[in-house]
């Protein structure tokens, strides 16, 4: 029985681990795999299909590994071929250059196409006009400005369902990153720069959002919620924020920019140029006027290349 000991051990361990995995995953919710928006759905499909294509090679490799290890083990009683000098075979070698090349050809083409169709800067196809949201990463909270609606909020991001949201994203903090896994695609938020992102929510609900790039002590607590609302609910949120006693202007911004965490708060927007001011803060005295005028559109240019 001694020769089967290793096999039994590996088999039992595998069964135990798979069972444990099943128990863990059973009731879990995967925002990335169970998304709530068109962008995240395309990305999920891409993830699953790329994974499946690779399994076409990986599974045979694992089977060969186990079979060869078992069949050609030194203690095997049955007479098996032993050819210590057999070390070249043109056809086989061509095959395993060829198979991975074929797979990478398929995946590479997919990567090229989707890098463009799912480019965060690309406007989403929809009949509904997009809602513009300006995002500012602060130490350690998120400011959302709705310049066309005259409202702003901290750490809460209400959006109308089935409506494209066009985000422009910057930071008044060390480099941060904006991510709502249920809706898709994260992007960096950087000082003096304006990144863009287009997302859409397919159904109503509350979806958590995160900062994915460490920016100091309160980094882990830099969470926010996306509230995807019906048009009616969204309008009433906007109306109530407009009546809010909290005013968002330069002074208020300066106050909330102090390092620290914050609860969800809605504001009436008093200054439509707040976002530009945050960006221009990092331009002062650094470039000629001609340069600084083009800086905030630096990313739009790379977007055009991508279209």
């Amino acid at each position: 029985m001694k020769k089967y000991r290793a096999v039994v051990l590996v088999a039992c361990t595998t069964i135990a681990l798979v069972t444990l995995g099943y128990l863990l995953v059973r009731n879990a919710h995967f925002d990335v795999l169970q998304p709530a928006g068109a962008v995240a759905k395309s990305e999920r499909t891409l993830l699953i299909s790329a994974f499946s294509i690779m399994m076409l090679v990986v599974i045979p490799v694992f089977i060969m590994l186990v079979t060869f290890a078992w069949k050609y083990r030194a203690g095997n009683d049955k007479k098996v071929d032993y050819r210590p000098e057999w070390s070249e075979h043109k056809l086989l070698e061509a095959a395993w250059w060829g198979i991975p090349i074929l797979i990478i050809l398929i995946l590479g083409t997919t990567a090229w196409i989707t890098a463009h169709t799912l480019d965060p800067y690309r406007k989403l196809d929809s009949k509904t006009a997009p809602v513009n949201v300006q995002v500012v990463a602060l130490e350690w909270k998120w400011l959302f400005i709705y310049p066309d609606l005259g409202v702003a909020s901290v750490n809460e991001l209400p959006v109308p369902v089935n409506t494209p949201i066009h985000f422009t994203i910057s930071a008044d903090a060390p480099m941060s990153a904006f991510w709502v896994p249920a809706l898709g695609t994260q992007i960096y938020a950087m000082n003096g720069m304006s990144s863009q992102l287009n997302l859409i929510a397919d159904h109503t609900g509350t979806f958590p959002g995160y900062n994915t790039n460490i920016n100091g002590n309160g980094y882990a607590k830099m969470r926010f919620n996306v509230y995807a609302k019906s048009d009616k609910d969204f309008s009433s949120w906007v109306a109530s924020a407009r009546k809010s006693p909290n005013m968002m202007d330069e002074q208020a911004l300066q106050k909330i920019s102090q390092p620290g965490t914050m609860n969800e708060t809605a504001y009436m927007l008093m200054d439509n140029n707040l976002y530009d001011k945050v960006i221009m803060k990092y331009m002062k005295g650094t470039m000629s006027d001609k340069d600084s005028a083009s800086t905030s559109t630096q990313h739009d240019m790379s977007n055009m290349e991508g279209m």
Binding site: A28, W97, L107, G108, M190
Partner: protein, 655 residues
């Protein structure tokens, strides 16, 4: 009286405040005092100085690299345990074992220690131990430089650990992106500790890269053409090319960052015209080749291990070489995949994504070649081969998730999440660590003359593999649930069980390491029973032709090579006993204390920079330069062993 001209910005407030850091700050010096007391009691100071600290013998330098790396591995895994304990308790309504500030320092030092002082340390250990023996030479091309490299590595190691006692470490993650690591956000000494530990160790690595590159080019035994070199030597050759090209980029980016910090410049600040994105490009232009620097020697090791334990010639030698060289080239054109989410646009993202995927092709070919080396072999599952089996499974999974993340649109959803953390541990543990641990078992008898205990070695492999799966499979799941890296608290209660399983996984890996420490202790105790001949594994390459432990001169007679796996065929044809006239005088380098002293002075230099003690910066810099000049003036750095004595020693060793 103002003392700050003398002690810079040192201040008692930099002493640790929290129980966990205070424990380390008291524990580490006490351990050192205990070791010093033991050395004094057993009167071993002289032995330590003569035989180890001043040595220029590559094998001994290799053993020192390995010892430091294994101690650092214990520290790195302890850091991991702290990280995962904190996250296991970090759910809603949970508590903190220690502050977030400490947590951020711990994951930064975990990354730095594991990459620079464990993986790089073990890698240079193996270069030193195996390369000169495998190519049939007596030492590396520049033995003194080799000692300098080691002591610079050692100085960097003291800096990382010293930060625990005084001043704290960086919170910026292992690559310390600005502007977080700029003065504006991190004015304290932590980031400077991080910069200078990497800087000093990095210069050591660069020098070692040059050293082994020249060694392989110029010191191969007669007849060993490039296409007769063992694959491990090939992997070291391409690795040293990567080191020589990549490490200057690390040195430059860190130097620019420290100019920002020390002299108020604006290379990477967000104000004043600086550009942090430039740093991120530069550091990854080094950082991505760095992971191939680590993993290619592991590929080389497994090529030796699989052929030896399958008792069969390595399948597809030429394709192995082509694959290594291909990976070497492609590793320089993939760095942007570390920041697809910076908004570079579809063309740039797609280019770097596809380049990244292409690397999977030669890597896949290597795996097929190993499989077909096993095919029609006669495989004995000694523990190096068990490590290979674990590697083949684990590394393949890591490769799959790597290719997934090479698709930019997939990366948009998993970048900087725990999915990414799981991926790179998957390839670094499954590839690099398993490879190096296999190599330690494989070459241990050549260094010490006895084998490591097999049962404990296999138990270690089992615990590492199971612990790895427990620690990192939940992280893949957590990443897909939206869990971000480097956080120590979260609001979703359903994440808690995943984090707990992951913490248990770290404990299981810890059990694996405990098995290995026990294995070393037990094997030393039972060294008579485990005594190894010169060729304990029925090996194929030249290092197995010399007695174990390898004599300090490596080869009494430099071998002649006429094919791949020279030793294997010599054994089949019958090994010839050397004639008396074959023995020649041997010239070897003399021991020197300059390597150690230069390393320690570099440590003082870095410490002075970290604490802004300007007079000491100038003094120690002048001292380093002076010592280098003094050493180059010394014309008597070698000694000769007469042929007769070589013959006598060789005959005794072979008896």
């Amino acid at each position: 009286m103002d003392w700050h001209w003398l002690i810079g910005r040192m201040d008692l407030s930099y002493l640790p405040h929290e129980p966990v850091t205070m424990g380390a700050a008291i524990g580490m010096p006490l351990t050192l005092v205990a070791i010093a007391a033991a050395l004094t009691y057993f009167k071993k100071w002289g032995y330590l100085w003569r035989e180890w600290i001043t040595t220029v013998d590559a094998k001994r330098i290799g053993i020192m690299y390995g010892s430091v790396a294994i101690i650092m591995l214990a520290r790195g895994v302890f850091d991991a345990l702290m990280i995962r304990s904190q996250t296991a308790l970090g759910g809603p309504g949970g508590s903190q074992l220690f502050s977030t500030d400490t947590y951020q320092q711990v994951f930064t030092s975990h990354g730095v220690i594991m990459i620079f002082f464990v993986a790089m340390g073990l890698m240079f250990a193996l270069f030193n131990i195996a390369v000169p023996l495998m190519i049939g030479t007596r030492d590396v091309a520049f033995p003194f430089l080799n000692a300098v490299s080691f002591w610079l590595f050692f100085a960097g190691m003291i800096l990382v650990n010293g930060s625990l006692i005084f001043g704290g470490f960086s919170i910026g993650g292992w690559l310390g992106y600005p502007p977080l690591t700029e003065l504006q956000y991190s004015p304290g000494p932590g980031v400077d500790y991080w910069i200078w530990s990497l800087q000093i160790a990095g210069i050591g690595s660069l020098l070692s890269g040059v050293n082994f590159f020249v060694t392989i080019l110029k010191h191969r035994a007669p007849g060993m053409t490039f296409m007769r070199m063992p694959i491990f030597v090939w992997s070291v050759l391409v690795t040293t090319v990567l080191i020589m090209i990549a490490f200057p980029m690390l040195t430059a980016s860190l130097a620019l960052l420290s100019l920002d910090r020390l002299m108020g410049m604006h290379f990477f600040t967000s104000m004043g015209g600086g550009n942090p994105m430039m740093y991120i490009n530069l550091i990854w232009a080094w950082g991505h080749p760095e992971v191939y620097i680590l993993v290619m020697p592991a590929f080389g090791i497994f090529s030796e291990v699989v052929a030896t334990f399958s008792r069969k010639k390595l399948f597809g030698y030429k394709t192995m070489v082509i694959a290594l060289v291909a990976i070497m080239f492609f590793s320089f054109v993939v760095w942007q995949h570390h920041f697809f989410t910076m908004g570079a646009g579809g063309d740039v993202n797609a280019f770097f994504g596809i380049m990244t995927m292409i690397i999977a092709i030669p890597t896949g070919v290597k795996l097929f070649n190993w499989l077909f080396t096993m095919y029609r072999g006669r495989i004995s599952f000694a523990s190096p081969m068990v490590w290979f089996m674990c590697f083949a499974v684990t590394f393949t999974i890591g490769g799959v998730t790597g290719v997934l993340m090479a698709v930019p649109a997939i990366d948009f959803q998993v970048h900087n999440t725990l999915f990414l953390v799981a991926h790179f541990h998957n390839v670094i543990i499954g590839g690099v660590v398993f490879g190096y641990l296999a190599a330690i078992t494989y070459w241990f008898p050549k260094m010490f003359g006895f084998r490591l205990h097999e049962g404990l070695g296999k138990a270690a492999a089992y615990f590492w593999q199971v612990g790895f799966l427990l620690a990192f499979m939940p992280l893949y799941a957590l990443g897909l649930m939206g869990a971000v890296r480097r956080v120590d608290n979260y609001s979703d209660p359903s994440w808690i069980p995943f984090f707990i399983v992951s913490a248990v996984g770290v404990v299981v890996v810890g059990a694996g390491i405990a098995c290995q420490l026990l294995q070393i202790a037990y094997s030393i105790w039972k060294r008579k029973e485990l005594r190894a001949s010169g060729d304990p594994w029925d090996g194929r390459t030249l290092e197995w032709s010399v007695p174990s432990p390898a004599p300090f001169y490596n080869y009494a007679i430099i071998p002649k090579v006429s094919r791949i796996d020279e030793w294997w065929y010599q054994k089949q044809e019958g090994v010839k006993t050397p004639k008396d006239s074959d023995y020649k005088d041997i010239v070897l380098p003399k021991n020197t204390s300059f390597g150690f002293v230069i390393g320690m002075t570099a440590f003082v230099f870095s410490g002075a920079l970290i604490w802004h003690i300007w007079w000491l910066v100038i003094l120690s810099f002048i001292a380093v330069v002076t010592m280098i000049i003094m050493r180059t003036m010394d014309d008597f750095t070698e000694y000769t062993i007469p042929a007769a004595e070589v013959m006598k020693m060789d005959k005794e060793a072979r008896a």
